[in-house]
Each structure stands twice: as structure tokens, then as C-alpha cells.
Symmetry: C2
Subunit: 450 residues, 2 copies
């Protein structure tokens, strides 16, 4: 069983990951290979500062949960969220960004108040009251629970609440949408240990008549977006939710799925949800909800909900290429390259120093670094690392980090202004003048962002 | 008393805002005027979609807490956080961004586990167990509380935990820093209603010898940053924390303060914290914490912690100008302009249509809007609003929204390609060719971002 494979290879509790229904071939050599792949990927993510070390943390990461990210993971997640935000809020004039409360005392509707933020001191005070009978104690604890804010498990409820003030923005005309991203809690299902997830949400309000078309529209848009950044786009796919799997009150659903080495996982879900939740949120007051043109009917809601922690994991998994090649001494080398899309790559360029007068070379590096940072090109200060490293080791490291270009400033640069720029994807080194590099990088990155 | 003024003018519970120690002049006419100012500002923020309506929500906003933001507030907050991120992570090569868990079962140290995320179903199950004695019940509730994750009240603890893996990045050399931003809970102080706040945090690790200099360095940097976006920079100031106000284990502290109409409030706090918390987080294992060059001493921590919800409020307050002028019919008009800094302004340009063939004009608008969005210039689709509005009303609305430029596409534009671009700050209308506008705006915004 795949579940067992996972258990054997991966640390404790990882069996909780949802995997595809097991097929007979899953314990074959191809599965062992894919488990190797997972191990390599996770190790690389820790070694190259995408994810912080620690078993629990790596488990969270693999389960598609929010975790402690290292500097590279933080930047990758930021880039991904930025791309999502721009693609959704800028795709149409009628999409507006909002920020809604992540905990609320009023909001019992959201997830039925499953998770409550309790001040432990207040609870302890109740438990310490010797004079209370058992019944009084129970009553007091219930009361504290009721008035403790409930924590959101999704972003839908916030958007439904913002529907009324937002209608003014569009002159009470449909369709329009509200976009938001943020952390949401996922109930543990009994273990008492809820985890967090970075959710993206577009809630689209439209007429009932057009809702199915809009679901199709957003499915196409979203799938296109995921595939835009993928090394092998076909690993991202969409699939209609079967009728028997539909959850109330949805009438249709589509899942966007990524093929991980251990099986398929859902990255994003689109639901055509009808009007009932919107009506319920606004206590059934239809008059508040009616649009100008929809003849007294209440808008239909299409929700598009993504898990961007799993998105980060998917793009890391999709980007890792393992190549075998011989090195200069004809030893077989395993080259690992993280071929992240140029707009997602957390580090665009790394700067190192070669042989020569260290103080002067460092000064050139610092100048260049500043120039890159001002142009919003994220740069890696490799020159700060003073431990001697061979060029091969350095290249291997930057390939694993997914650094697009690396360059070495040497004595020669001081004399001629020329330096060698190595590309991650081609491994070819090109000689450039120091004054051209910023423009070259800017153009390279923006050309990839179309 | 100022407190009473606040009570009278502002909605319930606003008296909770921290105000400056009351001086005798606070109930004078100047104070009444400043309360008027506050009321005007809050009303404008709601009317112009910076903050969602609702008394509780506006109260949160004014108290400098995270709240439901409308589309304009969401974009302003985003811009501000982006600016903070770039200014901190790009100011020096040795600052790295991280993302750390916002709730954790392991982390008791952070705020002593004051706030716990409790699954209400599990608590209810315990309370429903008839067979438990009172003592057993108390024990079970305690146990549930202990294993419920504690929620962070600040970002410091996460950064201290990330110190060890991060040291590798800099080859175990000091100084370096870890930057993070995110929501943090603020305990309620007894009411049972904790609120959230958008915190920014830079935790800077340096040698003991240099810590005071670094505190000064970061104070200068941060004050410069706040003032960069202010209409009247002198309203932002820094002040050294008095010795008797120092909190354990800090040896020095500096506050960055904004002068709100109702008094001073702290935007950001810098502490020189010593090494004790870092040591405590790593269970006293000095060998893990020693840097390469600091001769066995444990690094010193300087923390820089900002409240960006209050930052949003400060810049809105700082930007609101109220001007009196006569309109075309010589009636006295109160013009309100939100002169937000060009890089912070949530909407850079608004597009409307004048007289002429609506369908064609709309098409031109849609084309222009798309062009702006692709150039990452946030644009407002005013043309979607089909309710007839006078130019005066339209300009007044955009001034209150803080829109940098507005333009009207008319019949004339279709013929000559020319249109009039009105500036928020000068109110002057300039005629431009439609093909020049994007470049003009890009240059205007980037010129302001220096």
C-alpha cells in the first residue's frame, strides 16, 4: 500500500497525507523511486533554506500546511502570493481586494465556531474557584467559550459579510468579486492540534443564469495560472467533482490537482455554491442583496479557494530536476537543479568573489548588490561567505537553491569591467560588462512574466 | 478631560484608546476641533472604502488594530507592508526574511501560552461527561488546555528560534537580522476579547559591544522611513524610553511615535534586549549560539517591532487635508483631499467617460485600464459607474479617495487621441495624448519612490 510506503520512508505522522486510492503497482520499484524523489526534495528544501529544519516542521510542509519557512521559502511564498494577487485582482476591473478579520466574536456561522481563542488565564481562574459546584463550573466554562472569539477556517465567510458594502463599488451591478489571502486554521479532526494553511480566495458574485459559465471561466483562468509557472504543465490538471462527492450547498465543483510523487493532491477548489450562504449571512434580508439588474433574485456565489502552502510545495516538486553527468575527473555526478520559474525564483542572482584583492572585490560586490536591490532584483550575497569553495561546489549549491544566474567578480573584473555570468538553466557562462548586467537581468525576468 | 471628549465624540469603547496624559487645555476649542478632525477622518475612511462600515470595526481601526479593510484600505496596507519589507530586507545584505508559525504546541515560552486555540467540540465533550467528578473534570480541562496550541502575541519568539539555522547563511558571522511580518494576537487584559494586529519585526543579532550603536542605526533608519511617506514629517518622532519604564530584559528602548489628533501613539518600538531570551529559547546551550568572531559570547538582540495597522491609520491621518474654497457658484466648499504618498496611494489613476458614444468610450477605457494593470499601475474603473455625476462631484470623490490622477475619456479623445489628466495635488488639468499616459504615470510614481 502506498500509505505503508509513505510510513516507511517519511517521518512519523506523515501517513496523514491524503494519497490517491491505492493501486496495485504502488509498491513497485517506480514507487520506491518516487519515495526517493520525495526524500531528496525534502532534504534539499531544508539544506537550501526553503524550509526550516525539524521533523514536525518538515511534516507540516509536506502535508501542505503553513510552516516555518527559511529565507528562500519565505521569498518563494511571497512571489507566489504576489502573482496570485495580481492575476486575480487585475484580471478584471470588477475584482476588489479585501482584508477581513481572522477571528471574530460575532461570527458563529463560520465553521460553527469550531475553534476558539481562549485566554488560558481566564479559564484557569474559573477552574480555581473552589466554591463553584460542578454544574456552575460547567456553566461558567461554557460561557467563557461562547464569548471567546472564533477563528476562521476559511476566507469565504468574510467575503460574504463584505458583499453589501462592496456592492456600492460597482453601482449594485453584477458580476463582481472579492479577493483575499491569509492564514486560516484547519481543525484537527480530534487530535486537538489544528494546523494553519495559507489560503487564497476569490468569491465571485453573479447571476444564477451565468454561474456555471463563470465556474468554467475561472477554472480555465486558474489552471492557466498554475501551468504558467510549471516545468511540466501537464502535472497540473482540473477535474470535475463527482455528483456524489458534492458538499452542501454546492451544485457543481472543480478541483485543480497536482501530481506529487506520492499521488495527487488538491491545490485549489472551485464551487458553484448558490445563494443560501449569502442569504444566511445577511439573515435572509433579500432586499439588501438584490442587484440592480437581476430582477429581485439574490446573487449566486462561485468560490475559488487555493492552498498556497501546497502551491509552494507543488512548484518546488515540479521544478526539481535530477541529472546525471560526468565531472571534469570523469566521476559520475548527480546534479540537482531547482528550475523554478524566473518570476518565482527567490534569488535571481548570486554574487561571489574570485581570486584577487579581497577588499576591493568586496566593494564592487556591495555596489552591484545595492544596484540589484534598488532594481528589485533579489540578489544573494555569496561574497559574505569566506570559506574557500570550488567553482563546482558553488555552482551545485546555487543550482539547488534555484538561483537564476551567478557571477564571480575577480581581479579581471577590476581591470576590464568584464565578468562571467553563469545561467542555471543552460550552465553556459557568458562574458558581460559590469554595466550591462542589471539591464540584462531586468529584461530576462520581465520577459518571463508574460 | 480628553478621555471624556473622546467618549462624547466617538462610539462606545473608544475610550480604551491610549491617549497622552491629559493637560488642562484638552477640553479647549482646539481639542474640540481635533475631535472633529477624527470624526471627519473616520467617516471618510468608511465612505471611501478604506475601512468597512460597522461601529465595532471602526473602533478596532482607530485603536490601531487589524480590522475589516475595504478595497482601498487593503491596497494601502499592502503597499505599506511592501515598502516595509523592501526597506528592511534590502537595506543590508545580512537581512533575511522568514515566516514562522503563528500557533504552536511546543512554544510555551511565547507569552506564556496566554492565548490558546481550543477546539470547542473537544471541550464540550469533556463538559458533557456525566460520570466525571468535579476534580476529574478540572483535570481534563487543564489537560486539553495544555495540549491546545498557543497563539503568538509577537514575532520575536519565532525569530529567536530561527537563529540557529540562519547562522549558517552568514557563515556564523555577526551581525545579521531576521525580518517577518504577520498577524499577532493581543491579549485583552481580562475582557476575553483579544484583538489582532499586523506586526512587522526585525530581530537583529549583533555583538554586545555594538548593540547600542545598532539601536541608534535602526532608529535613524526607521524614523527616516516613516517620514519619507508623511505629508508633515515632524508629526513622526522618536523618543528614548525612560529608565524607569524599561521592561525586563531590555537595557535601552526607543519609541517611534505619531501625533494623532487625539494624542501620541506608538508606531514602532526598538529594544536592546541582551542575550537572555535567546539563551532561554535555546535552553541555555551557549555552544549553539556562538558566532565565529565574538569570542564565545552569545549574540545580543536588538528588536524593531512595528504596528502596521496603526501605521495605516497614521498615514491616513497625516494625509488628510481640509481646504476651504469657493466653488463656481461662489458657495463656500470644504474640499477634503487625502494626499497619500504616491507609492502608498491605493489607486493611482481613475478612468471615467464623458459625453459621447458610450460603447466606444467604454472600450477605450477597458483598453487603457488593461494597459495600466499590466504596468502594475492600480487603476479605478470609474466608467463602470453609470449614475450621472457632475465633474465637481467626481473630483471631490477622487480627492477623498486619494486618487493621484483622474482622466475623462470623451468624444474628443476618440477623434484626436487627446484627453485631460487632472492631478489630485495641484488640481490642474493637463492635456495629454492617450499613448503617453502610461509612461507619464510610471515615471511619476517611480520618481516618488526614491
Amino acid at each position: 500500500m502506498l500509505i505503508n510506503c509513505v510510513r516507511r520512508v517519511l517521518p512519523r505522522r506523515l501517513s496523514a497525507i491524503k494519497t490517491k486510492p491505492c493501486t496495485r503497482r504502488c509498491c513497485s520499484s517506480s514507487s520506491a523511486e518516487s519515495m526517493d524523489q520525495v526524500r531528496t526534495l525534502l532534504q534539499l528544501c531544508v539544506d537550501r533554506h526553503y524550509v526550516s529544519p525539524g521533523q514536525t516542521n518538515v511534516e507540516l510542509f509536506q502535508r501542505g500546511m503553513y510552516c516555518n519557512y527559511g529565507p528562500l521559502g519565505t521569498e518563494l511564498r511571497r512571489n507566489l502570493l504576489d502573482q496570485w494577487w495580481h492575476s486575480v485582482t487585475r484580471s478584471r476591473a470588477q475584482v476588489f481586494g479585501v482584508n477581513t478579520l481572522s477571528s471574530s466574536s460575532d461570527r458563529a456561522a463560520d465553521g460553527g465556531g469550531q475553534l476558539r481563542m481562549v485566554e488560558s488565564e481566564l479559564l484557569r481562574q474559573i477552574l480555581d474557584q473552589q466554591e463553584l459546584s460542578k454544574e456552575q463550573l460547567i456553566q461558567e466554562v461554557h460561557r467563557l467559550l461562547e464569548r471567546s472569539p472564533s477563528v476562521r477556517t476559511n476566507l469565504l465567510q468574510g467575503a460574504l459579510e463584505q458583499f453589501v458594502p462592496s456592492m456600492e463599488l460597482v453601482n449594485r451591478k453584477l458580476p463582481f468579486g472579492l479577493a483575499e489571502m491569509g492564514l486560516c486554521l484547519q481543525p484537527s479532526g480530534g487530535s486537538g492540534c489544528p494546523a494553519e494553511v495559507t489560503q487564497t480566495s476569490l468569491v465571485w458574485f453573479c447571476s444564477t443564469r451565468t454561474s456555471s459559465q463563470w465556474l468554467d471561466h475561472w477554472t480555465r483562468q486558474r489552471l492557466k495560472w498554475w501551468r504558467k509557472f510549471a516545468l511540466s504543465p501537464s502535472d497540473f490538471s482540473s477535474s470535475e467533482v463527482l455528483e456524489e462527492e458534492l458538499e452542501e450547498p454546492a451544485s457543481r465543483g472543480v478541483r485543480i490537482i497536482y501530481n506529487f510523487p506520492w499521488g495527487q493532491e488538491v491545490l485549489e477548489t472551485l464551487w458553484s455554491r448558490g445563494s443560501s450562504e449569502l442569504l444566511h449571512t445577511h439573515k435572509g434580508v433579500r432586499s439588501k442583496l438584490q442587484s440592480r439588474d437581476a430582477r429581485k433574485s439574490v446573487p449566486h456565489v462561485v468560490s475559488v479557494t487555493g492552498n498556497m502552502d501546497r502551491g509552494v510545495m507543488a512548484f518546488l516538486s515540479s521544478s526539481l530536476q535530477q541529472l546525471k553527468r560526468e565531472d571534469s575527473k570523469q566521476r559520475l555526478q548527480h546534479r540537482k537543479v531547482l528550475k523554478l520559474h524566473p518570476v518565482l525564483a527567490p534569488v535571481k542572482v548570486a554574487l561571489d568573489i574570485g581570486r584577487g584583492a579581497t577588499v576591493e572585490l568586496r566593494r564592487v560586490c556591495e555596489g552591484l548588490l545595492q544596484e540589484f536591490l534598488e532594481a528589485k532584483i533579489s540578489a544573494w550575497p555569496g561574497y559574505l561567505n569566506t570559506v574557500p569553495t570550488s567553482m563546482e561546489q558553488l555552482n551545485a549549491k546555487y543550482d539547488e537553491m534555484g538561483v537564476l544566474f551567478s557571477m564571480v567578480i575577480s581581479e579581471n573584473t577590476l581591470e576590464s569591467g568584464l565578468l562571467q555570468v553563469r545561467s542555471r538553466d543552460t550552465t553556459i557562462k557568458e562574458t558581460m560588462h559590469i554595466s550591462e548586467i542589471r539591464n540584462f537581468l531586468s529584461k530576462y525576468i520581465s520577459a518571463a512574466d508574460i
